[in-house]
């Protein structure tokens, strides 16, 4: 007797993917020159041909954004801007299933996640910022805060539409116009978002979307007509951007890598902690900058937690991202799979013990089984470097103080998790941790009202909340 879940695939009939896409410049789709394929990482099927923006396209997009900024958007009242943002938010909700299916096809993440997390949160960011548009004078950011101008925004492939929303919504609410480049491997939902801008009758040039690779990103970063760069991605690229803008007047916010500690104290609620560990590292295949990739267990509960964690991992459903019952989908690209595989091999080579539950990975596509490494120490590469995949490094500590020291002993500082039933311990630990976001008895919870950003090599500035607005306004310190 067994309860096998029959396949429950989401229909892809809902989306129509064009064989070829251009750029979205000045409110219109403009044919591209060179193209490159975007694929479904779960099947390696080519979904469409994507245009590669060069200097001419970047110039045109910046020009369109400047024109929209000067003639329309910066002159419009906050109340009017807010109306457009509300309209965009509502259309995103109306077309949520379409966005979810497209995101899953292009990214490889499970449909359950794009349906229940990515798309609703993206719409929520527009709703939230729509509400700010006419209240900026009262946000405590000066009596008459002014926009910066044209923002160049470069976003990653892990949460394509959600990262777009994090960037576009605050920029528009504060009166900036944008030139946005989605990641090379996940451009489709950004292109659907361009359609939404048309549907919402957003004035031409307020949002411009250019597709391309790192070379397009570099053109945007170095373009003299851009006033602000907002980047989410790797620390490596973030450093290049920081150097590039160092001698210019551009404002910059950077959301970079992380190696978050998920700290389990001996009074933690064990079953919910195990869920939090799973959610911390296997959510979105571990392609999360704030993933709880270092599990720090107090030694007197380490054995029990690991035992329950392994049992729970055996229940994780890895496979077809379009199946509504899938928990962990495909790795986003071959390149990323190679990186994860290489770092995991370094874990083996350095003597950590690897464990994965038995799972049948599909033959086609890019897959990596949920994996934990035990016996990891601070000196292991897998405890230092961001893997950006479903790989958890497990370390132990003896006293709360030692746990905090190990948690902070990293060049990163994006997020951290604390698991304890004792309020005083949670408050104490959160004061000691050098991380921009700290979760207590939960992990990977996001909300537009809450500022997000890192310490140290995890980035500059904050996104979301009142703090996030300041990054798009003149003369406001970036906290």
């Amino acid at each position: 007797m067994s309860f096998e879940y029959a396949p429950a695939p989401e229909s892809r009939a809902l989306v129509s993917i064009k064989p070829k896409y251009g750029h979205f410049i000045g409110g219109k789709f403009v044919a591209g020159g060179k193209h490159f394929p975007t694929i479904n990482p779960a099947t390696e099927e080519v979904l469409s041909q994507i245009a590669l923006a060069g200097k001419a396209e970047v110039d045109a997009a910046v020009k369109a954004a400047r024109k929209a900024y000067t003639t329309t958007w910066s002159k419009m009242s906050g109340k009017e801007r807010g109306k457009y943002l509300y309209r965009i938010a509502r259309i995103m909700q109306e077309r949520a299933r379409e966005f979810a299916v497209l995101e899953t096809l292009d990214n490889g993440k499970p449909i359950r996640e794009s349906r229940d997390t990515d798309i609703p949160l993206a719409a929520a960011h527009f709703f939230y910022h729509a509400g700010w548009a006419d209240k900026l004078e009262y946000a405590g950011l000066g009596t008459s805060p002014k926009p910066l101008g044209v923002a160049g925004q470069i976003i990653p492939w892990n949460f394509p539409l959600l990262m777009l929303a994090w960037k576009v919504a605050p920029a528009l609410a504060t009166g900036n116009t944008v030139v946005l480049k989605p990641a090379e491997s996940t451009p489709l939902t950004a292109l659907l978002f361009a359609e939404v801008c048309q549907q919402a009758e957003l004035p031409a040039g307020v949002v411009n979307i250019l597709t391309g690779d790192g070379s397009t990103g570099a053109l945007i970063v170095n373009h003299p007509g851009i006033d602000k760069i907002a980047f989410t991605g790797s620390t490596e690229v973030g450093k290049i951007i920081a150097r590039a803008v160092a001698s210019t007047n551009k404002s910059v916010t950077l959301e970079l890598g992380g190696k978050a500690a998920n700290i389990v104290f001996d009074d933690a609620p064990i079953d919910e902690t195990v869920e939090g560990i799973i959610n911390g590292i296997f959510f979105n295949q571990g392609h999360v900058c704030c993933a709880g990739s270092r599990l720090l267990l107090q030694e007197n509960v380490a054995e029990e937690v690991l035992h329950k964690l392994k049992n729970r991992m055996e229940k994780i459903r890895v496979g077809d991202p379009m199946d509504k019952n899938t928990d962990v989908g495909a790795i986003n690209s071959k390149e990323q799979l190679v990186k994860i595989t290489e770092l995991a091999a370094a874990g083996d080579a350095e003597g950590a013990e690897r464990w994965s539950p038995p799972c049948n990975l599909p033959a086609k596509g890019f897959w990596f089984a949920p994996t934990i490494f035990t016996g990891v120490t601070q000196a292991h590469r897998i405890a230092r470097e961001e893997i950006f995949g479903p790989v958890l490094s497990v370390l132990t500590f003896r006293t709360p103080q030692e746990g905090i020291e190990k948690a902070n002993n990293t060049p990163f500082g994006l997020s951290a998790g604390i698991w304890s039933e004792k309020g005083s311990r949670t408050l104490w630990a959160s004061q000691q941790l050098r991380a921009g976001v700290i979760w207590a008895n939960t992990f990977n919870k996001f909300d537009p009202t809450s500022p997000f950003g890192g310490y140290k090599e995890s980035g500059w500035g904050r996104e979301g909340g009142r703090h996030g607005l300041s990054a798009y306004l003149k003369g406001v310190s970036h906290e």
Binding site: S2, F3, A6, P7, R112, A268, D271, K324, T442
Partner: protein, 315 residues
């Protein structure tokens, strides 16, 4: 009694056993239950789940207005839920008040339902507010009348006052009355215990005291068998099995009225304690209206369209 070597039957050891349990984080438990509720169970797996759920139903009538006629009708339905389709299995048990046990047993035997046990609600159900002498006699009466399963209620007042040992001793005594004649299900009335910490504590207390099953509710208090409550009980059962090798059953009761809810319960079992528990020996659902919805969904899967409720029997 050995109590699985977990406690010695005294107050101090029981307190220390219960206080050593890990807490339950309310938000986390509710989030996990909500996530599992998104599982999409279709086609062959839905068909399997419906038939499995039918075998798990404790078909229940617990009304002041119960008569021999009503109880006999219920028994007939329990043995052959769909008179037009012999492939539909019998339900797990018939659950009645004490004074209806002999009516139910006699009728079941008469109609070829020897395989369907009678469960009796006992110990001054549903409130539990009576002396121990009365509770013991209540249980003895039910067993004498042919009940093979006893659904007892705990003294929630004693539990909430922190007199765990009193609750424990009551279960131990009722367990002794049941002996090897009847299975013991212990009802917590989780709607009155309120917190998940209490549910977890009550689960471990009842299991150590000798419960064969732990059961959420009487059906007389709302909320009853919510998904997070059942999740917490299943986790307790799983942990208890790892500690003692004893498989304890779980019975959600109250509020599970349709197929979708029943399937959600099976998903909780499957992904928490595992497929070993997906049988009526270890999982039951206390319900009355649920059975007909299961039958209608079953017909729909066979015939491709929804039938009128007139095509299933009312009782």
């Amino acid at each position: 009694m050995s109590f699985y070597g977990l406690v010695d039957g005294g107050d101090a050891s029981l307190k220390s056993y219960l206080n050593n349990l890990s807490g339950v984080d309310q938000v986390g438990a509710e989030a996990r239950a909500a996530m599992l509720a998104t599982r999409s169970i279709k086609t062959s797996s839905k068909r399997w789940a419906i038939d499995t759920a039918i075998t798990m139903v404790d078909l229940t009538t617990l009304e002041g207005a119960d008569t021999p006629g009503k109880v006999k009708a219920l028994c007939t339905k329990a043995v052959r839920p769909d008179p037009t389709d012999s492939t539909v299995p019998s339900v797990g048990a018939v659950c009645v008040y004490n004074d209806m046990v002999s009516v139910a047993r006699t009728h079941l035997d008469l109609i070829g339902g020897q395989h369907v046990p009678v469960a009796a609600v006992s110990t001054a159900f549903p409130s539990g507010r009576a002396s121990m002498v009365v509770k013991i006699q209540d249980t003895q009466d039910a067993i004498d009348a042919g009940a093979a399963e006893i659904d007892m209620v705990i003294d929630r007042g004693a539990f909430l006052a922190g007199r765990y040992i009193d609750v424990f001793n009551e279960i131990v005594q009722i367990r002794q009355v049941c002996g090897d004649k009847a299975h013991l299900k212990v009802i917590f009335e989780t709607g009155e215990l309120v917190t998940y910490d209490n549910v977890r504590k009550a689960s471990f207390l009842a299991m150590a005291a000798g419960a064969d099953f732990i059961k959420t509710s009487t059906g007389k208090v709302a909320p009853a068998a919510t998904a997070p409550v059942v999740l917490v009980m299943l986790e307790a059962v799983r942990d208890f099995y790892e500690m003692t090798n004893a498989r304890i059953g779980v019975k959600p009761a109250g509020g599970i009225r349709n197929t979708k809810d029943a399937i959600k319960q099976l998903v909780l079992v499957n992904e928490t304690v595992g497929p070993d528990w997906l049988n009526p020996k270890l999982f039951r659902i206390g319900a009355s209206a649920l059975l007909n919805d299961l039958l209608m969904q079953r017909m729909k899967m066979d015939e491709g369209y929804y039938s009128s409720p007139q095509y299933v029997t009312m009782d």
